[in-house]
Symmetry: C2
Subunit: 150 residues, 2 copies
DNA sequence: TCTACTAGGTTGATTTTTTGAACTTAGTGT
DNA sequence: ACACTAAGTTCAAAAAATCAACCTAGTAGA
């Protein structure tokens, strides 16, 4: 396995998997419905076949994408996201919202289906059953889960 | 300006700014407190001086980072995030949470400071004053804001 | 049957990015 | 005077991405 960033940080390690050029966009394309090689390629103007092919292989190996052969003769493949892949949705949403608020030209917005109004991101603490603001969050080291169970 | 991805998509356009190798990690490093060139460089094992220098210039030009000369003689600069830069915090949080749930080896977790329990991401609709689940969200095109004000 | 076309890629050359190491300039500390 | 730090710059080499052409297998039409 390649090891781009050698930093003891979730973000760096996550970016080692999804941070390469085109990778997040490929995953997003599959998330929004593209399922065959050419559908993905058509959705991503400018990507080359060999790169898409390489990335799909890497993503399959990383278990973010699963591939199924839906026709043996001729061979036809269908790409879909695994659970891990689907869990990237909040990442896409946060990038979309950032773009909405900060890009000169933005294309999409994220709305509450029921009322058609735009939403914000927040955090929820299941333990306190309350919503938590950015400023009440802390990033803590994970120490092999010793103390958190005691 | 460079134009990597030519796609009509917030995510692609956002990644045109922050999607280059090392860029998100540089922003994150500044977010968590690094302020001088060498502090940033020390936090990011493996980055080379010229790349860090290039990225900082690009980020300044993109108005995600602001630079101030805090000593004229010798010249010493201090880097900090602009409002746009700080708004990337939810992106970092969502990457951190993804890593927490999906990496083999993870280093950090995001907790509610008051109770020390981990939080989840949700969305909040100000109009309905309610929290909205992933499945009740839709991505809609932004059309020069004609209909949404009427 | 011949031709064109689609899906799903592979191959190889060229170009662009990154890395890596050395060097610079200006000042500090001993 | 000498070593050392901050904040970079310069240039060569290596790695990654782009681009265009090619390939295999099948399908559709004339």
């Amino acid at each position: 396995m390649k090891e781009n960033y050698k930093l003891p940080c979730n973000i760096a390690q996550t970016l080692n998997i999804v941070g390469d050029r085109w990778t997040l966009l490929i995953l997003h394309e599959i998330l929004v419905g593209a399922s065959t090689f050419n559908e993905i390629k058509k959705g991503l103007t400018g990507i080359s076949s060999n790169l898409l092919s390489d990335r799909l292989k890497y993503l399959e190996q990383s278990e973010l994408v699963s591939v199924s052969l839906y026709s043996e003769h001729p061979p036809r493949y269908s790409y879909s996201l695994t659970e891990s892949g689907k869990e990237l949705e909040p990442v896409f949403h946060s990038l979309l919202i950032w773009g909405r608020n900060n890009l000169d030209k933005c294309y999409k917005k994220l709305v509450h289906e029921a009322c058609n109004h735009e939403v914000e991101q927040t955090f929820y603490c299941a333990h306190c059953d309350t919503s938590v603001e950015e400023e009440d969050l802390v990033v803590l080291p994970v120490e092999e889960e010793v103390s958190s169970r005691a």
